[in-house]
Subunit: 196 residues, 2 copies
DNA sequence: AAATATATTGAACTTTGTTAATTATATATA
DNA sequence: TATATATAATTAACAAAGTTCAATATATTT
């Protein structure tokens, strides 16, 4: 029954693709069983033949997006820079991705879906999103001995929480008030954490 | 028409009180126009005579909760400690409040209500929640010259973002996995930011 | 006491997630 | 090939939630 599996994966793919498009475009508020099914070219009830519920469908997208984030970061960092400069660039790029796609920020850090708590693998992808996206740059710093591995771990954790905090306040509470102020504050924090 | 105003304020109060109870108890998922009205002793439709919509009702609670947080912090800090030690205690107490009432954390930092973006006064309360709750302890540090005011501002901002980031990851994504780990990590961050 | 204004309410509409029964399609068998 | 069966897809229908509005109840004024 190999054909059946291929066909099933294909149809699942249509739903996933539609979900990805809606999340990246209009965001979570526009996502519904019916809007996904519309874009996938099926009736809304058909979704339930391939996914447990709407949450499962959404969660499947997390890994896809994380891969996209990693590529986005790798594309943006300049090859002629190295060391801490490259970590700085990578971190800013990671941040820039979520500014460009607020719906994906919401998916990663805000939405409290039904059984998000049970899907450990997905929680792990989210928890390590920044670390993995900036992996190459960090490896350069640690391997070359510019920074001690333990110090690097602490700085990574610090960066992660500071930037998620900043993103939450900016996206959910419009603080800082302007995009410019947000960039100033986030750069200040990144520079200070990496520079000290 | 003073009586009318008093009566109106009274009935508004019943709805607000009901909303507060539900948010502190079962949290946002249990909150609905019907559940609030039930507890207030009115029909669901009556709410619309006193509030524009369910969002307005919820937002009104923010200032109330912030006052409660301030009292909670002031009660918890020891009077015999001072300086940075007291700032440390106040900050931990602020954090402890949200751990005790996850529904209020959700209200402050997670929910994206309709016109949250327009209510500048409410956004300001949320943005300065930690700063105001720990005001007294910080004043002690700054007035006594233990810390420069500019340095204090930077540390406040750093603390705010780190702790909101930590709370978001713990509450929304169960990371760190255990309560103990969360406390360890948050204490580590607080100590490091205040101590350096 | 009647007339008018105000407050409260239940019915109803919309949207969204979900289930189940019905219809359509593909596959297997005679 | 024609029929029987299994599988897939869809429509109908329900529940919960926010919201509106016409109808009812209550309070106020004359």
């Amino acid at each position: 029954m190999k054909n059946k599996e291929i066909q099933e994966a294909r149809i699942k793919g249509y739903f996933i693709e539609a979900t990805r498009n809606i999340l990246k475009g209009e965001g979570l508020k526009a996502l519904s069983v019916r809007s996904v099914a519309d874009q996938a070219g099926y009736s809304y009830a058909t979704m339930y033949n391939y996914f447990k519920d709407i949450n499962e469908l959404v969660f499947v997208c997390v890994s896809d997006f994380q891969e996209e984030i990693k590529n986005y970061v790798d594309d943006k960092i300049s090859t002629d820079s190295g060391g801490l400069q490259q970590v700085n660039e990578a971190t800013r790029a990671w941040l820039a991705y979520f500014l460009e796609y607020p719906g994906i920020f919401e998916l990663f850090y805000v939405v409290r879906g039904g059984d998000f708590g049970n899907k450990k693998s997905i929680l792990e992808v989210i928890d390590t999103s920044m670390e993995r996206a900036c992996e190459n740059a960090w490896n350069g710093v640690i391997k070359s001995g510019i920074m001690d591995a333990n110090v690097a771990e602490f700085k990574k954790a610090r960066l992660k929480y500071v930037l998620i905090g900043l993103l939450v306040m900016f996206m959910n509470r419009r603080t800082p008030e302007s995009y410019t102020d947000f960039i100033l504050e986030s750069n200040r924090q990144i520079d200070q954490i990496l520079g000290q």
